[in-house]
């Protein structure tokens, strides 16, 4: 039983890591129907920004909570700026192009950003400081869950809640939904569609950057390639839950994380990916739009 609980929490940790990245994928897809393959790079750039900012701040001797908050803000703003720029450069000119073109453009952007960071920084792994300190009340449970794991869990649950509420009840959320339903009609009723789309990208990138900060401090190292690997898994999770659906992304992430964890624990970690992707195939056979995705009729 204890072993089961340990595996459960290990799966939840994994799941919430995936969820932090998957949320951005699913949001962008929900609004403009584009799979933003450069999203993993936003995560990676967020992590690098966090590394640089936190190093500078710790040299100035700030207390750890202040470093954490300022670093989070800086990473979110900086990655948000990247998100905005990438959208302006790589996707907006292709707004009315066939659907494949922005997809290719996204892959190109991803490769460009990876190599940009490779050249601007280094190809080596860089150590990432543990920004979230161990807390005393978790010490009896250290073998099950650490402070960073708990923080990741809380943050991903919190962002999911806030995003869902925001999209449902705020003005800009309403505008986002309108844009998602029909861009032309949204324009007709006076919504600045371009601005809404930019906003979506900025939010998505900022979320990824927060994810980058938390996940990097969980695994303790970063390099230019982490975005690709994490991005693939998060994308799988988003598809599993139903891409375009925000609760779906979180659900899909947890299912993926738990499957991997239990497969490792009860079968073998050699087959971790086999189980994860078999599950994906199964779910897509019976629910092609994912668990919580809405099946939409598309005229292709």
């Amino acid at each position: 039983m204890e072993y089961f609980i340990e595996l459960l929490f290990s799966g939840l940790t994994r799941g919430s890591i995936y969820a932090l990245i998957a949320l951005g994928y699913t949001m962008v897809y929900g609004i403009i129907g584009l799979i933003n393959f450069a999203h993993g790079e936003m995560y990676m750039i967020g992590a690098f920004t966090a590394l640089i900012v936190s190093t500078v701040l710790s040299i100035h001797g700030l207390p750890l909570p202040a470093i954490l908050i300022l670093t989070g803000l800086a990473a979110a703003v900086w990655a948000g700026a990247y998100g905005y720029t990438v959208e302006r450069l790589a996707y907006r000119p292709l707004r009315n192009a066939p659907r494949l073109s922005p997809l290719i453009s996204a892959i190109g952007m991803s490769i460009f950003l990876q190599n940009y960071v490779l050249l601007a920084q280094t190809s080596d792994f860089q150590p990432f400081p543990a920004l979230i300190p161990d807390v005393a009340f978790l010490e009896p449970y250290a073998a099950i869950i650490g402070s960073t794991d708990l923080m990741i869990l809380i943050v991903s649950a919190l962002t999911m809640g806030l995003l869902t509420l925001g999209i449902k009840f705020t003005r800009i959320g309403k505008a986002m939904r309108a844009t998602a339903q029909d861009q032309k009609m949204a324009l007709l009723v006076g919504i600045n569609v371009d601005r809404i789309i930019s906003f979506t990208f900025v939010i998505g990138a900022a979320l990824a950057a927060i994810g980058g900060l938390l996940i990097a401090s969980h695994i303790g190292q970063i390099n230019f390639f982490i975005g690709f690997i994490a991005g693939i898994k998060a994308f799988t999770a988003a598809v599993l839950g139903g891409i375009g659906s925000i609760p779906g992304a979180v659900l899909g992430s947890f299912i993926l994380g738990l499957t991997e964890s239990f497969a490792t624990g009860y079968v073998s970690s050699d087959y971790e990916d086999v189980f994860a992707f078999s599950l994906l195939v199964l779910i897509l056979i019976f629910r092609p739009a994912g668990l919580l995705g809405k099946a939409t009729l598309e005229k292709v």
């Binding site: 994994r14 073998a143 303790g220 190292q221 390099n223 239990f262």
Partner: protein, 431 residues
């Protein structure tokens, strides 16, 4: 019959082509008729040019065997006669092609050693002569190379570079009673199969590292339950499989977990929980430093303090930098540091003087091979393979790796892996 004639053809081809001295960088020249599988049937006329004379053979298949056999005998006799005055040593390996960078440093190393020996008057007064042959690391060329060297009358060969080529060539040398010392062929079977008593090497075999890890964990750390993890790659998994075998053979410890992890994953806590549940007292990891630092970090997060023993893919400064505090106490195997050895320094310096660059892969190993061979010849007082083999196994020779000799199987005693432990952010040799 057909197979016989082809083997003979191969044998015969060698005296026909030029002698190899000084033609280091040329691929072995094979007459076109020798490469085609069914050449024997179609063979009507063979033209060879030797010492200015043109010899024309017109052959029919049924006479082929006798003619070739006679010819081969005559050629070998001639070569043996001309061998007086020098001791011939072959250098075979990859001198061209993709893997030339693994073979050329060996050639240079042997040339340097032989030059030094000859400057001092040779081995017991007899100068050494090098015969250089390229095998491009290809087994099918290596057999030709070997035949060529054997029929030129070499007493010993330093090479080949690659394990595959070495394995292909060894039976030919064995049948001719020629000693072979490879500076770079690491496949364990070459020595351990017992098929090639004429084979020696001056590099640790692939399984030596796993053996060092297991001996350390079982013998020094005295753990009884070991979890073996690997990264599913050729290097990591290979090492882990050897380690598992050795642990089981030792009889003193058991493998309680053997698993591959996915490189690059964001979290290894599930597999760590599994290690904990297995009751392992040590983790033996085969793989590289990015995964090792994540696993160690997460083990320490989960307050697991059991020993972590890893390999030379982890014994890297990046590991120290990334794992930071968590790296403390981690064990890793790695080749012993020989850069302080005076012989190593002297030969590296000579290389830099003549070539202007730093020596490449296996240079130290090749220097060791050449020194061991020439040293054994001096000790034995002759170049007779049997006497030299005995000297290799009984008397130590000073090499870049310190004083080494060989065990009965041909493995070097004294070239191996050391155990390092991270202490205060540095790898410190502990054994």
């Amino acid at each position: 019959m057909k197979r016989h004639s082809r083997a003979l053809l191969r044998l015969l081809q060698l005296p026909f082509s030029e002698k190899a001295t000084g033609t280091a960088f040329r691929a072995p020249q094979r007459p076109a008729w020798c490469t085609a599988g069914s050449a024997v049937q179609g063979l009507r006329k063979v033209v060879t040019i030797q010492s200015g004379k043109e010899v024309v053979f017109v052959m029919r298949s049924n006479h082929l065997f006798a003619v070739l056999a006679a010819l081969a005998l005559a050629m070998n006799g001639a070569v043996a006669a001309s061998a007086a005055g020098t001791i011939k040593i072959g250098v075979a390996g990859a001198h061209s092609g993709d893997l030339a960078s693994y073979g050329l440093p060996t050639l240079k190393a042997v040339q340097l050693v032989v030059r030094n020996v000859n400057e001092k008057g040779g081995v017991n007064g007899t100068p050494l002569e090098l015969l250089i042959e390229d095998d491009a690391c290809k087994p099918e060329i290596a057999t030709n190379t070997a035949t060529k060297l054997v029929s030129s009358g070499v007493r010993a060969v330093i090479g080949h570079t690659c394990s595959g080529a070495t394995k292909a060539a060894l039976p030919i040398y064995r049948d001719a009673k020629v000693l072979v010392i490879s500076p770079s062929a690491t496949t364990p079977g070459l020595t351990q199969s017992g098929e090639y008593p004429n084979f020696y090497r001056t590099i640790a075999a692939d399984d030596t590292q796993a053996r060092a890890q297991v001996n350390f964990a079982v013998g020094i750390l005295k753990v009884n339950k070991i979890a073996v993890l690997h990264d599913k790659g050729d290097y990591g998994k290979g090492l882990a499989e050897y380690a598992r075998t050795f642990i089981e053979q030792s009889g003193k410890a058991e493998v309680v977990l053997f698993e591959g992890i996915t490189p690059g994953a964001v979290d290894y806590s599930a597999v760590i929980q599994k290690v904990k549940r297995s009751g392992a007292e040590a983790v033996l990891f085969g793989g590289y430093h990015p995964e090792a630092s994540k696993i160690v970090g997460q083990m320490r997060q989960k307050r697991m303090t059991i020993a972590f023993v890893s390999d030379d893919g982890v014994k890297d400064d990046t590991f120290l930098k990334v794992a930071g505090q968590d790296a403390e106490g981690v064990y890793a195997t790695g080749p012993a540091d020989v850069s302080g050895n005076p012989i190593t320094k002297a030969y590296r310096e000579q290389f830099r003087k003549t070539e202007g660059t730093d020596p490449g892969a296996f240079f130290d190993n090749a220097v060791a091979a050449a020194l061991a061979l020439t040293g054994a010849m001096v000790t034995a007082g002759s170049a007779e393979p049997e006497a030299v083999a005995k000297a290799l196994q009984t008397s130590e020779v000073a090499t870049p790796f310190g004083r080494i000799k060989f065990d009965a199987k041909g493995e070097p005693i004294g070239i191996g892996f050391s155990i390092y432990q991270v202490k205060n952010g540095q790898f410190v040799q502990v054994q």
